[in-house]
Symmetry: D3
Subunit: 278 residues, 6 copies
């Protein structure tokens, strides 16, 4: 169960409106790696969590924080849209500066949302739940979370570079710091799980049943062997068990063979020159 | 540029058809973390790669391998669908076993694909490109890749448990081994990048411009403090720079305030009892 | 800003697992009119709200409650999935009852979510943000909300009929009551707004600029005139301004005419018998 | 069965081309609340209608009219795109006015559609069927319809403000009037149904089986009680049965508890420090 | 402008309900190649048509017919859903036949649509506008139409094989005949256009500006040369201009080279061992 | 199984960056008829192919070539994005030319992809698998392929007109030639199949079971008879079997009748003035 207080988690007040930037800022609200993604991902991971209580509590703490991040960015966008030049100018007296703003805006911000934020990304594409994962395996999911916070912080940093508004930058500097913490947090939680379970997901599959011969081999599927010089082909594998090796010319398996399909599928008939029906 | 050989990378031949299992197997072909995802993700990361040559080559090696994994699973599905009971049975003589198969199949396998594989997941939902990321930052993307291989191997292992067919299990045991290698590979590549860049993405943002006060704080947004006992609140942060701390009652920022919208948006008018138009 | 307590808003405990029903219950979690829809719709309407404070507070109260409804249903689904028969049975010893369960389940509940809830509907289709609206006009949006609560309660009632599990029914009886309240709530809020603004959205458009001749006419576009006997063609219009009338044979406007497209679009060339290029 | 006449329902002829506006106008053609939505929603409601004949006839009358609205807007867009500046200008001689037009256009109007309309919204997002509902309960669906006409008219009015072209405004003034009629029409039909069925959807669920204690309570889930001053917490509920009350501190239900998942799901193993496999 | 008559174009009455088949039949209603696709595709092609009047008239004739096909199939599905076993059975007394039906049904047919048709495919995936094309080039579009009618008839034929209900088969036999006519119709229209324009789309591009060296070459990108024996590598090309040839080892072009990205993108920094920020 | 060489299939090097054009070029990379579509469509058709070996080999040859086309366009886009003006300019000193570029760019090219290509179309809409078909019937699928190459070449030609950059035009002239070859190729393969199977898909359905009366009739569903003058209503049908005829006033079938739905669906109750519950 949740409750709401009227204060934002931090400040979200631009110095001046900027409807073109509002369109861009949508990316970290409703985009693939925006705050809606981490909010819903963490909440579902928390609600589905079957592991120790400290994990469930931790995941729901951060999930609850992310709702507040969505709130801050939505609030910021609504203010950036203030005074958007939505009216048409007279033919022959068009101001290129105004036209450029109109060209760079998302017209749905006016038509659909009346100068409010929308749960979409910077292309106007709606947020969808396939951006999230709750797999029931925390090590797998914490890697998803570390990735989401890494992509997310990268995008916030890029958006920081794209504005000079002190109010916007103030809010972004807060999000950039929180995303650093959240990267550290998931790295810490991963470290803890790897210690007890090992580094490969899932740790519980019996290795006898996997094809051991190819479990530590880097396979070269291209001309040139630059790929043979990295850590991923030299030394002990990161799971602490196997040793990397490099396969220059990987072998092959079966040649596939598919049966002729049954008549009721009306697939391509044998092409022996006889028209089957006429 | 690419070329094709007729052999599969490994074997893909079931002992007997199983159209219900064919539906399930679609998840690792066209699902969120199926082989199409890693194939397209790695290819785009490789084509966009602006870093050292060994990374581009390595990424395209594995991307090229993943095309072969898609090929194997598609081939397997087409064979699992052989002899699917697509015909209706006479009313009054329905065989429950046949009906159960019909209920568990994806009817599109017959109607749309004529007993062939489709680029969809186990719910029939089509693969889409938002499953992938190529951000231009390799550390961020390698975390995406490690996550994809972790979720992917977890799903393959679950599918292994859901069949007893030796041919299917043989192919899956190959994929399970490759996914272990690929987890190890991305862990190794991450280790290499973290050594030179540090652990936080992006490493190039000037920390003076981020809100340092909250950059290492775990914030408790719920009743109960189980979340205070993990590695993520104790000791040095994983980036080797800051130190974790726990904030029991996180502070708050501004109360948001939005201006009345301009007339041309026709938003809610002031509700002072006067009907504005009539 | 939000905070979380560990108690659910109400009970969510089934008497026994039922993985087939878990699939169905997804509809009111992640479907078009599920709890995620009202949760996100109300939160965005609240965050974007530029009207009087009591509206913003009211909308965020109910938006915050809806997060708790998502939590309850997710929790219920995770329990309904307990003990799902995911293992394959031996060929020749298949139990029809087990097979029927397998056929009726969503296989992603095992493969993707490890027996947890997913943010999707009963077909496995992911929730997306186009299910929601925050238009900046509260009367319009409250009608969206009343519709959502009406469709939502209808679906919950149908799901109530589809189970006999006392624990599931207990939770649903709570949601059914809340959805009744929420329908009443939006009707009350609509009544209040209609009193001050009038019943037509938006109320602020100058009626002189609309085509008055057709503003109260029901137009008959079909054979048969059963449609002439309803309230919608008899008496005063519901906005209290015009009077309904019935148009048996609606008139028509222009015949459309489109110019030949410019060459650079390479549309269909004039078909005068001359092959334009060869 | 349907038939077509060559006249549009009304005029659809702009005074001059305006490809930037053409992009915006797509919203009311193929957007969430565009004419395709009401067209398909009404047609499916009509085809599925199991109630009295006058409802089926009425719904199909308006559904048939909406096809003509789609036709008018598509025709308008095709004309607005005439003469779009699709050609590239020489480097160094770029005209800012032309560039602004190019920036504000949807490039797919040229590349994909050869200066024709597309069944998408103002962001280029394709129309999809989840925008519609046909629930089998007319009161629920008429509320969906009233919402659609309210959101739709709001969007048309905003688009009216965004152009000064007399031909475009002429067509929009027709649509604005029809949308007023359609709001009135659905309000009238709702009034009729509420009289016979009551105001809560569905009316046929036995109230004994719902949790009466919370069926008329407004629950306060936030700091501050501005929400206690509206019609929704004062007086008789709008269904004419209960009485509203305000709950300042809503109670809570169970603390959720989930079982450890079975081994075959390979979820997170107990974290007791023992690596389970190696 | 359109009008509606109450008769269907043909009969649509099943002998008995069959809710499992109703799910399958959705494919040709709201699927990729269902009737909604051809309906919307032809209507948009007709509305956008800038060619001779006979084409516009012909396209809108068939587009209008397709609305009637959607109507017939929707009506059929609503009847097939009659009496669907939606109620839960008592634990311990489950009838396998009923369970199989429940497993094979789309639960949304009850929960969302109250036993009515939905605008979705056989997987419950909603129809979307990207299934259609109106390119402004009739030869291109008529090929899209011929494909749609070919895929569509194939699916209807497969569905014919999947039922023995005489009423369903009667309706399908009508659709199968119409789809044959429509294939013939588009072939005839293509023949006409190819005569005047040539066979390659678009015919208006100056061949001097295309890379003539590769305009008639089949390129072998795989081991094995079975592909060298078809019509596509032997003789005159179908456009009547060039001559096919077979390239056993296709040459290659540039090796790609991408510049290091600018700092403001925060891409991967040079990996020279120096951590750039710390 | 596949392998990669470092050379592109042809050149892909622009003379200068043009981030606005990069957005447009996305259409033929990740759009409905972009190279990803033909790549995935041909690969799945090839993997599922159950016909003669020469078809499988031919389809996989061209599918493999298309991967190289995706690679070329992605590489081109990454270079067109070089030096994109992502930084904000100081208020009051905005350069209209820079603003126009910013307005015409896809902001995700910076924020999400760090100046790399994305698997989306010119509106930023992600590629999805419903753009492809592999039906199991080669004649149907080759028509899909001919359509895809026709739409694709049309789009490439339009993009050729929209740039003057010699490097971009060089690459496009290659693709335009290949798309001509591929149209010729599919026409040739279709000719071959039609010779053996006949022209109607599927050829294997017994014509006795289709409604012969309407199998060669063009039906006029609109005022005006311009549609009676084309090839499609005059002479022998293209399948060489029937003869076209024109039906001026097509007849009609049943009037649909739907039963009152069962109580458990809680649809609209009989509207006899009695409120059913209260």
């Amino acid at each position: 169960m949740f409750s709401h207080v009227k204060e934002l988690q931090y400040n979200a007040k631009p110095e001046r409106p900027d409807p073109v930037y509002a369109k861009k800022l949508q990316e970290i609200l409703g985009g693939q790696y925006g705050e809606m993604t981490v909010m819903m991902q963490y909440l579902f991971q928390g609600w589905n969590c079957k592991a120790e209580g400290k994990y469930k509590d931790m995941i729901l703490d951060i999930g609850t924080e992310e709702i507040a991040h969505v709130e801050m960015i939505a609030t910021m966008i609504a203010q950036l849209l203030d005074g958007a030049p939505a009216h048409d100018q007279e033919q022959g007296a068009k101001d290129p500066a105004v036209e450029a703003v109109l060209g760079g805006m998302n017209p749905q911000h006016v038509i659909v949302n009346g100068l409010g934020a929308q749960p979409n990304d910077a292309s106007g594409y709606p947020w969808n739940a396939r951006y999230t994962i709750a797999s029931g395996n925390l090590l797998a999911d914490f890697r998803a979370n570390l990735n989401a916070e890494s992509q997310g912080r990268l995008q916030v940093v890029r958006l920081y570079e794209m504005t000079t508004d002190p109010g916007v930058r103030d809010m972004l500097s807060f999000l950039i710091a929180r995303d650093k913490m959240h990267q550290n947090q998931w790295m810490a939680a991963i470290e803890e799980l790897v210690k007890s379970q090992g580094a490969v997901v899932p740790s519980t599959f019996n290795p006898e049943f996997e094809k051991q011969e190819v479990a530590y081999s880097f396979m070269n599927f291209s001309e040139g062997e630059e790929s043979s010089t990295g850590r991923w082909v030299n030394g002990k594998a990161l799971d602490g068990v196997g040793t990397f090796n490099y396969v220059q010319n990987p072998g092959a398996g079966q040649v596939p063979f598919l049966k002729v399909p049954p008549n009721y599928t009306h697939g391509t008939p044998p092409t022996n020159g006889v028209n089957p029906m006429q």
